[in-house]
Every structure is written in structure tokens, then in C-alpha cells.
Amino acid sequence: MLTLRRFFATLGPGVLWLAVFLIVPVAIMFGYSLLTRTDLAQVGGPLTLESWGRVFGYDALFREWVPDNLRVLGRSVLIAGFSTLLCILMGYPLAFYIARQPARRKSFLLLLLIIPFWTNFLIRVYAWILILRPFDLVPSLTATFLGMVYAFLPFFVLPVYSSVEKVDWRLLEAAQDLGASPIKAFMAAVFPQTLPGLIAGILLTFIPALGTFVVSDILGGAKTALIGNLVQNQFGQAGDWPYGSALSFLLMGAVLVGLWLYARSAGQKGLEELI
């Protein structure tokens, strides 16, 4: 039984901390998204939906739809989507490979996968400059894709792996026994079992890919600007906090909705296994 006293002795301080430094700032961010820019990095009233309008392409100043923003949004989704697809191509078979190794080798391979995942994101992206510069590929779209896939591949493989490890291979034999060809048997018996991991992996890749600004900033240049870059710009040179807030809130909303949908289908355990 969780009484108030016990709550404050264990969960309380941490939850309080997250409330102050996570929930309150996000609430403030939402509040700011309803204000207007009065000066560089300054905000003021009255309450308005202008920034939100701009997020979806409506420019209040010129009173018309300006497709530029939408283009960035669309490009973000496309680049993130394509990067995710590349991750699936590279990572899905890898997860199978790891899951089917003997136990000791498995944990070694997993460690090998986790190490780049924990090394500095910035450095990992930066290292690609060293490789691609001789080929004159920095900045370019190709470099952005490479950097994206490289940065997010471990996020994808880990949840898929944990799904693959739980696969009941007898179903594959059963399907073949019932006359299915190897590929058909795989699609019918194994693929559906990996679906929860696959969905988690896609979420974990697509979402950060959508939000990153470092990859395109370092490897892509202006032509590959994503939502993340747009946000960074609003809090940097442009100094338009309300617009940046709205963009950033949209980004977070997409994440949380995805996470919520995932939690609903995968439940408590799935949510914990996500990490």
C-alpha cells in the first residue's frame, strides 16, 4: 500500500524533480507558444494562435499560406522516414543474427551494439565528416542519411532484438509442416511475433530522427534543414521563442502520442522494455 509518507520517502523526490524540471518547463513551453515575439528572445501578449498557424504554414504577417514551413515539415518526415527504412533494412536481419547466437556470444554482440549507442552522439556524427570529406560528400543529403542511420541504428535493433529473442520457432516448423514455403512460413509464423519490437524500433528511430538538429547541422547543410534545425534557429539567431515553442511542442506531441499508442498495445512491460 502506498501512503503519502511512503511516497515521499521513495518515489516522491524523483517525481517532484521531474515535475519541476520536465513537466513545468513543457507547460511553460506550451504557454510561450501562445504568445508573440516582441523582440529578440523576448515574448509578450496577447494570447494568439499565430505561431501554431505558422507551424502549419499560415503566415499571419502576409495573411497567406507559405509552403516553406510545410516543406521543412514534409522534408523532416521524409528524411526521418527514409532513414528509418534504412535502419529496418540493416537492423532487422541483424537482430535475428544476434538472437540466434549462443548465450555468451549473444551478450558480447549486444555489448558491441550498445557501445556506439552510448558514445557521444556529436562525435559519432562528426566522425562521418572525416570519412566522407575526401569524397566531397559533406555537406550532402547522402551524408545526412548515413549520419542518421548511423546515429539511430542501435535504437532500432535493441527493441527488435528483444522481440526476436522471444519468438517461438516451433511455429515456423509448424507452418512448414503445413506446406508453406520458407518465405511464406516466415511471414506467417515469425514476422507477426516480431511486430511489437519492430513497431517500438520504428518509433524509437523515427522520433529522434525527426527531432535531431545535429546530424543535418553538421553533415547536411541548409538544404537538409529539419524541424530540429528550425527549432534550434528560433532559439538561436531568429530568437522567435513562441514559434520555436510551437514547433517543439508539435515534435514532443508526436513523440508522446506514439509512446502512448505503444504503451496501450504493449502495456506496462512493453513500456519498460523499451529502454
Binding site: 500500500m1 502506498l2 521513495t10 518515489l11 523526490p13 524523483g14 517525481v15 524533480w17 521531474l18 524540471f21 520536465l22 518547463p25 513543457v26 511553460i28 540493416m90 537492423g91 541483424l94 535475428f96 540466434r100 555489448l111 551494439l113 557501445i115 556506439p116 552510448w118 558514445t119 557521444n120 552522439f121 556529436l122 562525435i123 562528426y126 566522425a127 565528416i129 572525416l130 570519412i131 570529406r133 575526401p134 548511423y150 542501435p154 520457432w169 522520433i207 529522434p208 525527426l210 527531432g211 535531431t212 538538429f213 545535429v214 553538421i218 532559439f235 515553442s245 517543439s248 511542442f249 515534435l251 514532443m252 513523440v255 508522446l256 504503451a263 506496462q268 513500456l271 519498460e272 529502454i275
Partner: protein
């Protein structure tokens, strides 16, 4: 029950691993390259490490990075351990929202966390100024921000370490005459310790590696190593940055392997019950 893996699958897997390690390898090699412009190999040298250590700004950034990492790890380990303990001990109907709250800092894009904290700090500063107080973004703002994303990792590591243990252990200690503090110190903490240490190591690594959140919360006068690297990279590639990156990668790898080794011997799960 090992199945043979198809040779094509093995080949593919090793290609992917190659892809994962190629940049890190290149980075390390280039940090020993005796050429100012990279690209071509001009012989082995360690001089860039010397150049690096001679740089005043690097030394300052290193101090900042370590100070932030140590203090944020200390705070987040205490808070996160308590949260992990609570998650293990109580099955409340708040469990799902609680897990959701803990997962959020891990999954939301760090840009979002960075900019929301930036605005939060600026608002708090505005409020404080009314009372005559003020503060600059720097050590404290960065450190608090780091704690925010570290707590979840510590909490979830501790929880998963405790997950195999019977929850009546604590009651058994109480039953045998231990107060709640004593039962925590004599029973729960020793059991959770590997999880606590692993969590702390992960938290430390995260703080060491963080760029985005630090970038938005650090202000102009306070730089950590990742921020310094970013600024340098934006200006152009220099070999001493390769050396710096190599060092950071090294520290991370050691920390991760250590955390992994600590967590490895899992608790003997329940009896045959």
C-alpha cells in the same frame, strides 16, 4: 538449441557491425595522423594530444564537464535509486503513468528538453529579478538539466536489478526487528548496489556525452567538452578535436563495459516457488 545461421545473414551482420565501428576507428586513426588537414595519412604522431592538453579552453571545458557529470550523477543516483526502489516495492495504480513519466525524458527529442529548460530558466530568472536576485546560465542550470534526464536511467536500472527479488525481504527484515531505515541499509541497499552503481555509471556517461541539452542551458560563459567540440566542428575540422573525441569515446567505452560487468551476475531469482 542453436540453429545454424545462414552465411548471408552472418555476412550482413558483420557488415553492419563494420558500419557501426568504421567511424570510431577512423576517428581514432586520424587522431594519430601527423597531418594538419586529415584526408591523407602523413605518419603516426601523438602530438595532437599534447596540443589538446595545452589548450586553456579545453582544460576549462574538461573541468566543467567533470564537475557537471560528478555532481549531477550524485544527485540523480540518490533520487533515481529511491524511485527505482519505490517502483519495485509498490504496485500502485499509478504505476503506468509513473513509468510513462520516467520514459518521457528518455524518448522526447533532446531539443525539446533543451529549449523548454531554456525558457523555464529564463522565466525563473525573470521572477527572481523582481526580488533583486539573479543568476547566469552556467554550472547550476546545466547540472540540474542533466539530473532531469539521468534520473530515469538510474531508476529503471535499479528497478530491473531488484525485479528478481522477493518483495517480502523487506518485511522479513522488519519482522526481525529492523526499523525501516535499517532494513533499507542492511538488506535492500546491498541487494540493489550493483544496479545503483551501473545506473550511476550510465548517468555519468550520459552527462559526459550530452551536447544538445547542455547547448541550450549553458549560456555563453560555460562550456563543456561536447559544446567545445561542436563549436570547433562548426569552424572546421582540426586534428586536436579528433584527439579529444577519441579520449571521450575511450572514457565512455570503459564506463559502459564496467556498467555491463557490474550488472551481469544477475541475482539468483526466487527459489523453486
Amino acid at each position: 538449441m542453436m540453429r545454424r545461421t545462414h552465411p548471408a545473414l552472418s555476412a550482413w551482420a558483420w557488415l553492419v557491425y563494420g558500419f557501426l565501428y568504421l567511424p570510431i576507428l577512423v576517428l581514432i586513426i586520424f587522431s594519430f595522423n601527423d597531418s594538419k588537414f586529415g584526408g591523407t595519412w602523413a605518419g603516426f604522431t601523438t602530438k595532437w594530444y599534447g596540443v589538446l592538453l595545452a589548450r586553456e579552453d579545453v582544460r576549462e571545458a574538461l573541468t566543467n564537464t567533470l564537475l557537471v557529470a560528478l555532481s549531477s550523477t550524485l544527485i540523480s543516483t540518490v533520487l533515481g535509486t529511491l524511485v527505482g526502489l519505490g517502483l519495485w516495492r509498490y504496485s500502485t495504480r499509478f504505476r503506468l503513468p509513473l513509468t510513462f513519466l520516467l520514459v518521457t525524458p528518455i524518448v522526447i527529442p533532446d531539443v525539446v528538453m533543451g529549449v523548454s529548460l531554456l525558457m523555464f530558466y529564463s522565466l525563473v530568472r525573470g521572477g527572481l529579478e523582481l526580488t533583486g536576485w539573479t543568476f547566469e546560465n552556467g554550472f547550476w542550470t546545466v547540472m540540474f538539466a542533466h539530473v532531469t534526464f539521468q534520473i530515469s536511467y538510474v531508476a529503471l536500472t535499479v528497478r530491473s536489478r531488484l525485479a528478481g527479488y522477493d518483495r517480502s525481504l523487506e518485511e522479513a527484515a522488519r519482522d526481525l526487528g529492523a526499523s525501516s531505515v535499517q532494513s533499507f541499509l542492511r538488506v535492500i541497499l546491498p541487494l540493489a548496489l550493483p544496479g545503483v552503481l551501473a545506473g550511476a555509471l550510465l548517468a555519468f556517461t550520459l552527462s559526459l556525452d550530452d551536447f544538445v541539452v547542455t547547448y541550450f542551458t549553458s549560456g555563453s560563459g560555460f562550456r563543456t567538452l561536447p559544446v567545445l567540440i561542436y563549436t570547433s566542428v562548426k569552424k572546421g575540422v582540426t586534428p586536436d578535436i579528433n584527439a579529444l573525441s577519441t579520449l571521450l569515446v575511450l572514457v565512455t567505452v570503459v564506463a559502459i563495459i564496467a556498467a555491463n560487468a557490474i550488472m551481469r551476475p544477475r541475482p539468483g531469482r526466487r527459489g523453486e516457488a
